[in-house]
Symmetry: C2
Subunit: 332 residues, 2 copies
């Protein structure tokens, strides 16, 4: 059997793929845009198949052990069906079955945060950790728990939605329909919302940021705030620290519940590094229940960047095939 | 090897023990009070040994496969050391080692909520559930996660402290030192606090309850509130429903994170039955993230009552011995 596996990362506007070798290195890459505005399952499926074909054309012999698909959504516990993907039009979509006839390798589908957590466990910042909790801070918050060499998927496959734990009763409205979800306080969207409200308030604290934007508030993005903070803009440092403190509060909640040894913080917002993580560590140390009577989890930055999902999806699929679990049970 | 195991439940003022057979039935019982006001480790240890000796005297042949100790506190992941027990004077107490020379069977120590969760998984309300979450509502909230036939203890053994997840920023002060912990809103202590504040406000809504207490507010206990509610006192029905709604909120948070198939609700407050659980189920259904796109966990009452800890401690210890894991790793 080939040692190679293909990982696919489905984004909002493109499908990225890679061929992963046994050491966790991506040896070939491919990507295709999904047609503008079209998020129909059939179109995304065609794009996935095209990227896989592009990659297989690069592989000697034209075959791989397995194909793993990472999707931002809920995947059934047998890793065959996308139950719900908020940003794609998938509702109970039998993705594995649809791809099976078009791809000459076993296919597994997985939640993108599960894939990222697995990648960091196998090849990244959590390699020596038996109880790793992954937190991905992007527009929202994704998460995964990897313990004793397995992704803990829950009873129905939808564990790890830490971003939708309520931390503020009656707080900000969340896309999920509830109020006060953690991701409304500790995500990229929260960072941009807070910065924008400062701009709209015409606070002198935000004048430097506004100048950076050439006076165009609407062009503000999370990475711009991070860049300004790294350049020394104190307001942006504060804004990121606020997000970091909410991150620490949520991590303290999760440590009370799960007691992980290491939190790995990934996703776009984690590019802020210690500007984010140091306030998170301080708040965590202040709010962890039983502090002083227990060992403290480490909080570290992810290492694999935005390819973690692709790497993890490939390796999870390969691991499942090696374990002889064609239905996905019993491995990963 | 004997099929019997001894379970010990250490309470605030007494040590209760039982001999458990292979079907989960307690075939002998013993209990001794711990001397008034004395919570020194040595005195509690002597009492434990006395109860074990009482029980062994009842067992034909005088031997059992294992002894399990359930304690309200944090236990190291190797189940040998009590890291911290708030209501006993144990701080890094090597309980297993201390008992080893005095008890003629392998000894395991466990957190009482872990033991209760295991008991409900093996012999109680969660026998068919692969992903069971136990919630014990007593003066505070204890918890345990049992998945795929194992208690999930976390990296250092202190997972399951769900009661200390923050649900109200800046909320009620908790014994743990933080504010706004879930157990300040959904426990027996919360129930009594709220009822007492109603009495102190001299609200007409509380006059019936005050009459029940013979005008003596200070004699109020949680079970009295439950009894009054079961007798039809509408104020007490409301007070329990308030606790139930906070229970439902916390369960929705835990379902977002863990995705269990069944929540088993035990502890003294669960005696209120559907007066507690029905509001919890309604709030859970209203607040679960992704409702409508996922199967919904069941919320059921525990079956083993206040002997769950003793039963679970005995069976966890026996399971560890059978798995050939004298240090407690690899089983339970």
């Amino acid at each position: 059997m080939s040692d190679l596996a293909i990982g696919i990362d489905i984004g909002g506007t493109k499908v990225a793929g890679g061929v992963l070798d046994d050491t966790g290195t991506i040896v070939h890459r491919a990507r295709r845009d999904t047609p503008h505005r079209s998020k129909s399952p059939a179109v995304v499926e065609d794009t996935i198949v095209a990227v896989i074909d592009d990659l297989l054309a690069e592989v000697p012999g034209g075959s791989v052990a397995a194909v793993g698909i990472g999707a931002a959504g809920w995947v059934s516990v047998d890793r065959a069906t996308v139950l719900f993907a908020p940003h794609l039009s998938w509702r109970h979509e039998p993705l594995r079955e649809r791809l099976a006839s078009r791809v000459a390798a076993p296919v597994y589908v997985d939640n993108d945060a599960n894939a990222a957590g697995w990648a960091e466990h196998r090849f990244g910042a959590g390699q020596d950790e038996s109880h790793l909790m992954m937190i991905t801070l992007g527009t929202g918050i994704g998460g995964a728990l990897v313990t004793d060499g397995r992704v803990q998927r829950g009873r129905y496959g939808v564990a790890g939605e830490y971003g939708h734990m309520m931390v503020v009763p009656g707080g900000h409205r969340c896309e999920c329909g509830n109020r006060g979800c953690w991701e409304q306080y500790a995500s990229g969207n929260a960072l941009v919302r807070e910065a924008r409200s400062l701009l709209l308030a015409n606070s002198p604290l935000a004048h430097d940021l506004l100048a950076r934007l050439g006076g165009e508030e609407d062009t503000l993005t999370g990475p711009m705030i991070t860049e300004a903070a790294q350049d020394g803009d104190q307001t942006c440092v504060e804004l990121i620290a606020d997000i970091g403190r909410w991150l620490g509060t949520g991590l303290a909640n999760l440590a009370a519940a799960f007691d992980p040894g290491t939190f790995v913080i990934g996703g776009g917002v984690s590019a802020a590094g210690d500007l984010l993580l140091q306030p998170a560590r301080e708040t965590f140390a202040r709010e962890l229940t039983g502090r002083g009577y227990r060992p403290m989890a480490r909080i570290v930055q992810a290492r694999l960047g935005n390819e973690a999902g692709l790497i993890g999806a490939a390796d999870l699929a390969r691991t499942a095939v090696r374990a002889g679990a064609p239905d996905g049970s019993g491995a990963g």
